[in-house]
């Protein structure tokens, strides 16, 4: 080939100018933006058909949903509150996913993080509040981190499939919480709903000034930003991305894949445990069965929707938080079961996963097939 080319190739020159790299960057970003949005729209259309089939009005449904999720300052705050734990729960899926691991048992880490935080808060009653809250956070992170870190360790050192083991461990965690909350840690005063003793008021985490949203939103957002920096800007993140692409190649390169997997899964579990701690310290005031509210499972959907990009998790978590928040209003206004939201989430999830097949398929997103702008043609 090289013999037949007399002068420098147009592409080489363009590349040297960064023009093609820029085109590729734009194309990739456009693709990563357009395909999920299109999938969301398709999912909503399919859900409209479902709602029509059960004899309700999709227009009214989406209108109600908007009103319940984002229509007023009150509902926006409600959505943000529900999105806060989803940020952390989604990180529990997204971080291991960068290493090629499908961890779906974040619910277990949330539950145990909450129980650990509640136990610490009750045991240290009387100590200075900043210290107790800090230790509650540490306890939540440690409990969740050990739980999911163990999943990673089992994966690497024993080749136990992480999807199934994490889910089994979620069931074990919930049984453990029930045992502790009904037995050793039970507050005798909690009759109908077994709970741990309530936290003293000074150990509760309040709201962000001027809002009815607790600090968990800020913590979760920070966690997402830090996770993004970790993955994109540090050598550990770089190593994780290599190991996620090909474990063998990473090992040949001399990367310590084992510690990398355990570290990433432990960090992921730590975030989920922190979500549990925040639920206890900011919302529930004690550890009880409400900790297993399904945030861990919605988090899976958030992470996949965001394509495991921590920054994309922020808007997606708030969107899903809004859908969750509107569930009650849909139930009351339209006489639909509360599981309606679950059906919508399931449909969106399937469509989003299906849309993976379209990456790289559209000419629209392939810079090679874009026409070269006219003003460059005479330049060579």
């Amino acid at each position: 080939m090289a013999d037949t080319v007399s002068g420098p190739d147009v592409r080489t020159i363009l590349d040297a100018g960064g023009y093609r790299a820029a085109l590729e960057w734009i194309a990739r970003r456009a693709e990563a933006f357009v395909i999920p949005i299109a999938a969301l729209v398709v999912g909503m259309v399919l859900f409209s058909l479902f709602i029509l089939a059960v004899g309700k009005s999709p227009v009214q449904l989406y209108e109600t949903m908007w009103r319940g999720g984002f229509g007023s300052w009150f509902s926006i705050q409600n959505s943000l509150s529900r999105g806060a734990p989803l940020l952390l729960a989604a990180l529990c899926v997204a971080l291991p996913a960068r290493l090629g691991l499908v961890v779906i048992g974040g619910e277990g880490a949330i539950v145990l993080g909450g129980v650990a935080a509640a136990a610490i808060g009750v045991a240290l009653n009387g100590a200075p509040s900043f210290l107790v809250i800090l230790l509650m956070g540490v306890g939540g992170v440690a409990a969740g981190g050990i739980w999911i870190g163990a999943v990673g360790a089992l994966r690497h050192y024993r080749a136990v499939n992480e999807t199934i083991s994490s889910l089994l461990m979620a069931y074990i965690a919930i049984a453990l919480m029930n045992h502790l909350v009904e037995g050793p840690l039970r507050d005798p005063a909690s009759l109908n709903k077994p709970s741990t003793q309530p936290l003293a008021d000074i150990y509760r985490i309040g709201n962000i000034p001027g809002m009815e949203v607790h600090w968990g939103l800020i913590v979760g957002t920070l966690a997402c930003v830090l996770s993004w920096l970790l993955i994109e800007k540090t050598r550990w993140g770089f190593a994780a991305r290599i190991a996620g692409g090909n474990v063998r190649a990473a090992q040949v390169q001399g990367l310590a894949v084992g510690p990398l997997i355990v570290g990433f899964t432990a960090l992921a579990g730590g975030f989920a445990g922190l979500a549990g701690m925040l639920e206890v310290a900011a919302v529930q005031g004690s550890a009880n069965g409400s900790l297993a509210a399904g945030y861990g499972y919605t988090g899976i959907l958030v992470a996949f929707l965001a394509r495991h990009n921590p920054l994309a998790i922020i808007p997606v978590a708030i969107l899903l938080g809004g859908i969750d928040a509107s569930g009650g209003l849909i139930q009351r206004r339209m006489d639909l079961p509360d599981a309606t939201v679950l059906v919508l989430q399931g449909m969106l999830f399937i469509v989003i996963l299906f849309s993976e097949t379209f990456y790289g398929r559209f000419k629209l997103f392939n810079p090679d097939l874009w026409q070269r702008p006219d003003f460059l043609k005479g330049n060579v």
Binding site: R158, I164, L168, Y171, E182, I300, L301, V343, G346
Partner: protein, 308 residues
Amino acid sequence: MEATDIGLWGVPLAMLGGAIRVSTPFIFVSLGEAITERSGRINLGLEGTLVFGAMSAYAVAVMTGSPWLGLLAAAVAGLCFGLFHGWICKFPKVNDIAIGIALMLFGTGLAFFFGKPFIQPSAPDLPAISFGAWSDVPQVQAALNVNVLFLIGAALAVFLWWAFRNTRIGLIVRVVGDSADAARAMGLNPNTVRLMATGVGGALAGIGGAYLSLYYPGSWTERISSGQGLMAVALVIFARWNPLGCFAAALLFGGAGALGPALQSVGVTQGYYLFYAAPYILTLIIMIATSSPSRTLAGAPGELSITK
């Protein structure tokens, strides 16, 4: 039936009875999953299929008065879920494990959505055969009251074990599961075979769900399955994709699940919730014990993504 005081003998007896009662859904889901996985694909969505099967069986049984029509409805519903999984996974870059998780969510959501009106009414039960009539002890009679589906499941396990080894269809499924390239060379279309295998697997999972709502525990509630569909997936790995092994493992799991209630019946109430976790802990221990980082599992289908 009045309880006769038989002391601690009640524990193994209750566990045996519990094993027979609790294991049936595991038998069906795991046999279905064994067929699917043998064809080289994994369907984690069987948990959702199980719940939806339980709901549709109950709803149809309430409306028609026939538990058998309910069972049929569950099988058809399961078939549809399975075929959908099989169809969507044939597209490139679509991850079968993730689609399974999505279908789990979707199936559960649909079951809760349509199942709301059926939480109150009661449906006719599937019939059971009493093998314990020879005994005067009520606990023995209770333990040996065996549902027909358990017997069908046992027969199915033997049949599948035979069919995988000795029939043309069994061979086709195994070839596709071990090497899609070899199957293509033989003129087989792996996607079609997997579609069928996933469909059959879904139908069996639906039947497992019907057993839950129509026999034991015998009513439709939103907490009817607590991960049985998923434990069945782990169970298949433990059983090394062997249908007879699936049957034995299902009995073991049923027994583990019956440990808590059995101990409670003789007055041990300490740590009830921990005993409730016994089947999950058992599954996890078995998976840890049987997995190994240095070799692939014996008998694992070569194309199966979960064991790579």
